[in-house]
Symmetry: C2
Subunit: 321 residues, 2 copies
Amino acid sequence: MDKPYVIGIDVGGTNTVVGIVDKRGQILKSDSIKTGKHSQVEDYLDELSDLIDDLIAGTTTKDQIKGIGAGTPNGNYFTGSIEFAPNLPWKGVIPFAQLLEDRVGIPVALTNDANAAAIGEMTYGAARGMKDFIVITLGTGVGSGIVVNGQLVYGHDGFAGELGHVIMRRHNGRLCGCGRTGCLEAYSSATGLARTAREYLELKPDIQTRLRNIPADDITSKDVFDAAMAGDEMAKDIFKFTGEMLGEAFADFVAFSSPEAIILFGGLSKAGNLIMDPIRESMERNMLPIFRNKVKLMFSDLKESDAAVLGASALGWEVRN
Amino acid sequence: MDKPYVIGIDVGGTNTVVGIVDKRGQILKSDSIKTGKHSQVEDYLDELSDLIDDLIAGTTTKDQIKGIGAGTPNGNYFTGSIEFAPNLPWKGVIPFAQLLEDRVGIPVALTNDANAAAIGEMTYGAARGMKDFIVITLGTGVGSGIVVNGQLVYGHDGFAGELGHVIMRRHNGRLCGCGRTGCLEAYSSATGLARTAREYLELKPDIQTRLRNIPADDITSKDVFDAAMAGDEMAKDIFKFTGEMLGEAFADFVAFSSPEAIILFGGLSKAGNLIMDPIRESMERNMLPIFRNKVKLMFSDLKESDAAVLGASALGWEVRN
């Protein structure tokens, strides 16, 4: 029997959002709980499975659900576990998929947020019909989901696709949250962009900019975006620097898997051409000649509020029943 | 019917070597012709197909050959063509697979040398049973063949896996044959190693080394190897520099596809621990913590004189009949 629905779960540091999704990527019903409310993962999972039961009860029946897909920080597809996620209240290795499956009686698959985004783009979004593409998520960090030959690249241990942690500056690079220096994420995440703003303000004291109206430590990527949209030259330069670094990195990614497209997803991608123009210029300039003018640069076309749940839900179509 | 043999063709700049290979990777019979003898590709292919007919006649019959695999410079698996190979006498795009298939009546598949090496390792060599690994060829250039989920990564256009051309030095990098600067190949190929030797001799005039007995422009990687084996400190340092650069690059490759192993193949890999020790130390030091002490570093275990033909032949098992 061809089951018509899947459930997507987006486990974020603050909220856990759950939605019932049909084959065309329509979210029939969704709701959320607070991720951090329970210090014991069992209590959290009890509340989560109650929510899932309620959502199903209002929409369909359990035997119409093909599977549950979850996108979580540090989610490992192979083990179904959340492994040492720094931003969640539960420490160590949590066998999330198994624990949830035991409660709701529907098969559960799990992966990290960026991989879920890539599956979402392939199933419902900008990458429909593509077999080789890369999704880059530009949020607090820089994440990636890589698809090769129509399959997610999980690698030998389930942790492939850490493209936020390729080294862009080998000497005197910025300290990254991973403990090393010079990672892409330290420059081209939303946090990295705000850091660039603070650096520019300090290094270029003579340049007029409305960013000086904000206490340096409080500057966010949104502030820089607003300033750039209002014509502020330094703010535009900050986006240019951020995009150029991404373009350099993308040129190397292309040498690896020669994708049909690189798709931008999340926070910074809302900056539109402010970020895309320097990425495109820098990627083409830094690329090996045989790859030039071949790779599409795109924004995700999934509605932002739905994207994380949709991406996670797409994994539900792939579970083994 | 299960055909027991394949034919492997290694098209090199100097020689074209052909072998008949069985399922265990034994070369039953092989022979070669000069690649550069004919300025017209049709004449070359006539001689090549005559050679293939002769090899078959002495061993088996045509209907026992499952397919022909060819490893060629700039070979594109998707199109079956050799595209703009700088070191071959025939210019532009050569539909090699089709032209050869028309002559011999056996299906022909083609890819570049490094991809052929990766398929060879997976079929007969160090990567048997692995689904995720990378082969790095260290010869005149640096090439790569990447396997993900048990499949060669060809990418959208057939040109994926150009890992010799990721950028290792973004400022004041060495000029590379591809026209850009700072590529891995400019440092860590056999040619790059000899270049490092010339640089060290010039930059460190006070250091004693037997390399000064050779005219600088004539120094080869073999000379540096011989000196290092005789205990020459500068020669050892040159291998250390070359290996450390490879280790930095490998750490980034691991962030991409999280392979079970990285396998070294070709020229420089003969240097053994002289090159492997600094690679290992540098790769582990530069790697994202979650990947540390997981990735095997290995040498190809295919007999060198046979490896190119074996690798190409392995593609013959995959042709569609």
